[in-house]
Each structure stands twice: as C-alpha cells, then as structure tokens.
C-alpha cells in the first residue's frame, strides 16, 4: 500500500517562510523549491509520524475535499520530492 508510507523530511531539508518574497520555500542541499499552497499544506502535515493516508484524511476534512483525490495529489508530490532526494519514508 503506497498510501501506508510515512513521509519524512530528511536532515538538511526544511521549510522556511521567505519574508522578502512573502512565500514558503523548501530549503534543501543545493536546491530551493518555491512552494505553492498545495505543497505547503502537504508539507505542513509531514511529521514523520503519520502516513499518506492519514494526512489525506486530515486534509480532506480540513478543506472539505474528496479524500481519494487528495491522497493521489500527496503521492505524486512526495514521490517527486523523493526522486529529488529531498523526501524520505520512515521505516514502517
């Protein structure tokens, strides 16, 4: 189950609010990713404790949106970050 995976930001990857640009960014080795609202909402829930499914359930309730669509957005987002080596998955 891919939605059972628990995403976690590895050491050296952190969110930061850029006051000058008024924007949330993800700071990582040799890389700065400017986050849109969706990305920021997802990363704000990534705590190394909860699975993708749990985060999806929480965000679905919060934004009154379909849970399945949100889960698939999260999978796409975290898998892309994992390819870039700025996201990992906690051991089950």
């Amino acid at each position: 189950m891919t939605n059972a995976r628990i995403p976690v930001l590895p050491r050296g990857v952190r969110m930061h609010f850029d006051k000058v640009r008024g924007q949330n960014v993800l700071l990582a080795p040799e890389r700065t990713l400017f986050l849109d609202e969706t990305g920021h909402a997802i990363l704000s829930e990534v705590d190394g404790q909860r699975s993708i499914a749990e985060i999806a359930r929480h965000l679905a309730a919060l934004y009154n949106a379909p849970e399945e669509a949100i889960a698939s957005d999260i999978v796409e987002f975290v898998d892309d970050l994992a390819d870039k080596r700025v996201m990992e998955f906690a051991d089950a």
Partner: protein
C-alpha cells in the same frame, strides 16, 4: 527610456571566506592573484554581510574558500549565518577538519556539506591536489561526515586525468551515503585556463562520461542525484552561466568585494564595490558591475535574435572574455558564435596531446 525590468532579489550567496587552502589544485576557481590572509574580512564584518544577505532575500549561503576550515572562526561564522536565517552549505576539501571541529560545526547548524574529490586513489588525488597525504585524510573526514549524518554532496572535479575513473567516483558517493554527486567537469577560467592543455579531456572521454552519467542516473534514481556539468568546449550551446548575470546569485571575495560570479574579476572593464563602501543591497540593485550584463539589452545581435536567448542568456561572460577577448560577445562555445573556430582550434591541439606534463599548481604570488 526602455521599460525597466524589475531586478529580483538574489537567492544564493557564495562566501569565499579565505583563499588559504592546504591543497593547490591546478584548476582552482580562485583568481590567479590570490588575496593574503591580512586582507580577509574579520568575523564581525562577515556576520553583518550574512545578516544583510538574509534581509535582502538570500536563502542559501555557500561557505567556501580556499578552504573555509582555514578560518579559525568558521564555527562562529556558520552559527551567525544560521542565526541570520540562512541555509548553510559548507564547501570543503575536508582536509583540516578534525573530528572535534565537525561536531562543533554540526552543533553550529551546518545544513549540508559539499566535499570535493580530486581523484579515486591517493596517488592520483594527491598529485592533482598537490598535497601528499590529502586523500587519506579526506577519506577519514568523509567517513566522519557520514557517521555524524550531515547530508553530503560529493563534488567530483573531472578532467583529462580522472574522467575515466568516473564509475569509481560514483561508487564512492554511494559508499559514503551521499545524496548528490556533482560531476563537475573543469571550466576554463583562472588557474584552469593556465592548465587547459593538461586538463582538456578528449572527445572519447566526454562521450563515455555522458553515457556513464545517463545510465547511473537511471540506476540510482531516488538514491543518488546527479548534477552533471559537461565540458562546455565540446558542447553545441553554452551553459546558462549563473542562470543569467546578476539574476540569482552573488559572490563575496575574502576581502569583501561583491561579484556577480567568482570569475568576474577577469573582466578588466568592470570595477567591483566592496561591502566596506556600500550595502549589499545597493551593490546588487544599483552596482554598475551587476548592471553590466543583466537582462538581455547588452547582448550582441546573434543572441538577441536567438530562440535560446532566455535559455542560456548568451552563456558565460568570463569565457567570452577569455577566448574572444570581449566580455560582451556571445559565449565562444556556441555553434552560432563567430569565435567558435577558436574553440575548435584549441580542442584540435589540446585533445591530441598525450596529457603528460606538469601542472602549474595554484600558489600565492
């Protein structure tokens, strides 16, 4: 009056704390005229520069040199940069970093370490770095970095004499648990330009390296990220140097001059302001050196009318200076450049050489 395009704030700053270094690599990116220790900025000035940088929108500081560990106040500077709100990337040869110092740097908040690699064996690496014993010490430091758990990028500087070892370099990155490897083929400025005949790879080497990187990129997906800087003399189009002059990054020299890129001082028509005479923000937004090649107005017609104008921004100004003698020319590696024959002639001569000879090692005048 033309429409003023707003200048964006810089994202990254390269802080060259010092030109001192135990190694003397013949492709060092420091200028040929090195700055002596007595002229280096003091601790308080660097801390102020970090704060100014963060206040104007810089997000990442790349703390480099020379060897930044040659500065006794390195730990304080790292801490100050973190306190200012910057992401701290330490760019080091590893030589001179002790176990105790690494732990202090960990506590001070180093976010990421970029470790340079000159070669895959002691014999080759020590010859290239001009320092016997450097490789052995570097390997001890590399293991310690992995043990502490710093995110690691291995910066493999590649050229004629080690490009064939690329697969072993990739294996080393994996063994050390690096998340990234930069396969950085030497760019010919400064010291590297002096040693170009010795460093220039052959076309066969470059073609093989491209295949090795492409295959490894697939095999290591999700494990190791590749950043490949190919040797641009062999390219058809120039690199997007600095992502465009004065658009995303700036560089501070050990004595506080503020440059649009580390090699900008090779352009004799430019004068550079120091952090002692103006604020960083003033220099970035209003300095003449930053305005010189910012945007597209400065470009020659062949760049202005080119569909790659906003992709590679005319390439590297310093390379145009070095090869064509004109910093406002199109980068001579470009197939469309009238100066491309100069690059081809150089390749013709240099790639035919045996590659044997002596390096002109980097040294203080």
């Amino acid at each position: 009056m033309r429409d003023a395009v707003p200048v964006p704030p810089p994202i990254a700053m390269l802080a060259e704390l010092t030109h001192r270094c135990p190694l003397s690599c013949p492709y060092c990116s420091n200028p040929v005229e090195l700055t002596a220790r007595q002229k280096e900025l003091d601790t308080a000035t660097w801390l102020d520069v970090f704060q100014q940088a963060a206040d104007m929108g810089v997000l990442q500081v790349h703390i480099s040199g020379g060897e930044p560990a040659s500065r006794r106040d390195l730990v304080d500077l790292v801490k100050g940069a973190r306190d200012a709100g910057l992401y701290v990337n330490l760019i080091t040869s590893g030589v001179g970093l002790t176990d105790a110092r690494l732990h202090e740097l960990d506590a001070a908040g180093v976010d990421h370490i970029q470790l340079s690699l000159q070669g895959i064996t002691a014999e080759s690496a020590d010859w290239i770095g001009g320092y016997k014993g450097a490789f052995k010490r570097k390997m001890v430091v590399a293991d310690k970095i992995a043990e502490i758990g710093f995110p690691l990028t291995l910066n493999a500087v590649m050229h004629r004499h080690n490009l064939d070892d690329l697969p072993e370099m990739i294996n080393m990155a994996k063994r050390l648990g690096a998340r990234r490897i930069e396969v950085a083929c030497v760019q010919f400025q400064g010291w590297a330009l002096k040693n170009r005949g010795m460093l220039q790879p052959t076309r066969e080497q470059v073609d093989t390296a491209k295949r090795v990187v492409a295959r490894a990129r697939e095999e290591e997906r999700g494990t190791l990220v590749f950043d490949f800087v190919p040797p641009d003399y062999y390219a058809d189009f120039p690199k997007a140097c600095m992502g465009g002059w004065g658009s995303t990054g700036l560089n501070i020299t050990p004595d506080g001059r503020v440059l649009p890129c580390h090699a900008a001082e090779t352009i004799p028509s430019l004068t550079f302001q120091s952090v002692a005479e103006a604020s960083l923000s003033d220099i970035w937004y209003r300095g003449a050196a930053f305005a010189a090649y910012r945007g597209t107005d400065w470009m020659p017609d062949i760049c202005q009318g080119c569909d790659r104008r906003d992709i590679d921004f005319g390439g590297c100004r310093c390379q145009a200076m070095a090869v064509a003698g004109d910093a406002a020319a199109a980068d001579p590696v470009c197939r469309k450049s009238p100066h491309r024959p100069l690059v081809d002639a150089t390749l013709e001569t240099e790639a035919r050489r045996s590659g044997s000879g002596e390096f002109a090692y980097r040294k203080f005048a």
